[in-house]
Structures are given as C-alpha cells and as structure tokens.
Assembly symmetry: C2
Homo-oligomer: 119 residues x 2
C-alpha cells in the first residue's frame, strides 16, 4: 500500500508508535531475549526480570501485531506457548542489541556523572 514515508519528527506519523514500542524497556528486553531461538512464555517472563503479567501480554501482543515476534501455541497438557523472532525481528534485534551494549558499556560513566552533579 502507498503511504507517506515515515517521519519520526512529525507528531502525526504512526511511525512514532513503532519507535515507542521498539524503544521501550520491555520491547527491547523481550526482543533480545528471543535472539537465540523460541522461548516458552513462562521462561520468557522469567528472563525479563521484573515484567508484570500485564505488561508481558501487552508487549508480546504489540510486537506480534507488527510482525516482530511470532506466538505459537501447542495443544499439549499443560498447554505450551512459545514466542520467537520473525526475520524482521532478528534484524531489529541486531539494532536493539547495539543500544543495550551501549548502555552496559557507558553505564559507569553515566551514573558517575549523575552522582557528581547531584552532590
């Protein structure tokens, strides 16, 4: 379908909603937690320390809606639900990983600066 190109600096452009999702704490951590392959729902919740059931469901639903992750449910007892990255999700993961790496690498300098200016 033809539409205007994305413009993140235009408040009316729907690309902002995608930026919000892929930039969100839970979106980033969920995508990166699926990097190595499908993960069962329960294990995924545990991997993303501190996420609530509600935020888990909402984030998973949003990422699924845009085709970043896939949800498969297996008719087993007990029922098994697995999430995995789609090809576009793997591509996104690579980009998000660079943000994660940046935060981890620069964490000390950033915290040191915030503590120095607070005193």
């Amino acid at each position: 379908m033809n539409r205007l190109p994305a413009n993140l600096y235009d408040p009316k452009c729907p690309s902002r909603l995608i930026l919000d999702l892929v930039g969100s704490r839970w979106g980033m951590l969920m995508v990166c937690s699926l990097e190595r392959g499908p993960v069962r729902a329960n294990a995924l919740i545990r991997a993303i320390g501190g996420i609530s059931e509600k935020m888990f469901r909402q984030t998973a639903r949003d990422l699924e809606k845009y085709g970043v992750i896939e949800r498969r449910s297996f008719p087993e007892v007990p029922p098994r639900v697995e999430y995995s990255l789609t090809p576009i999700g793997h591509d996104l993961c690579r980009v998000i990983r660079s943000i994660e790496t940046w935060v981890v690498e620069n964490y000390e300098a950033l915290i040191d600066h915030s503590e120095a200016t607070a005193s």
Copy 2:
C-alpha cells in the same frame, strides 16, 4: 567508583533507568536533533514535533543529568539557552540513529503487517 556491572535483565539494576531514557521517544528524538551542533531551546522544541514544554524540560534535565547533553545559558536580552551533545552524547547518537533508521526503513512492512492481522 566500583559498582556491579550493568545488568539490564535485573529489575534492581539502575541501568534500566538509563535504558528507559535513551530508549524513550523524546530522549531519542532530542539526542538526534542535536547531532549537527548546538541548538537553541525554542528551535529544539520545534524540531521535536509534538513535545510538550513539560516533557521537553524533563527529558532535557534527565539527559543533562547523565552527561549526554549540555545546557548553556547566555546572558543576553532576550536570554538565550542552547543545548548540545557531549562527546558521550555524540556516541549515543550514532547508536540511536540506527534505531531511527531501522524504524523508517521497516515502517511500511510493520504497518502492513499490523493492518493485515487486524482485518
């Protein structure tokens, strides 16, 4: 100062606050709007379409607190306030730019997917 390394998957790790800031819509757009050099406060608000005065002040204060941007005020009439990236801010900008580029490049596919699954 010695502290534990950052672990974004630990809900108690303060690195999460930094991830929230640098992943936020306003944080990302503000950092990237300063890529080419210092920008006056008013021009910066206009560049980041749709940001409120309140969110502008809060985002600028947080980014300044962690040493990502700098605020300079000049004793002029009318008073002039400029923001600019610090060296660490320029480094962050490079990483955020890759997220922005990803969203812009994949926008159509993501929106197409969300529309196809909605119907």
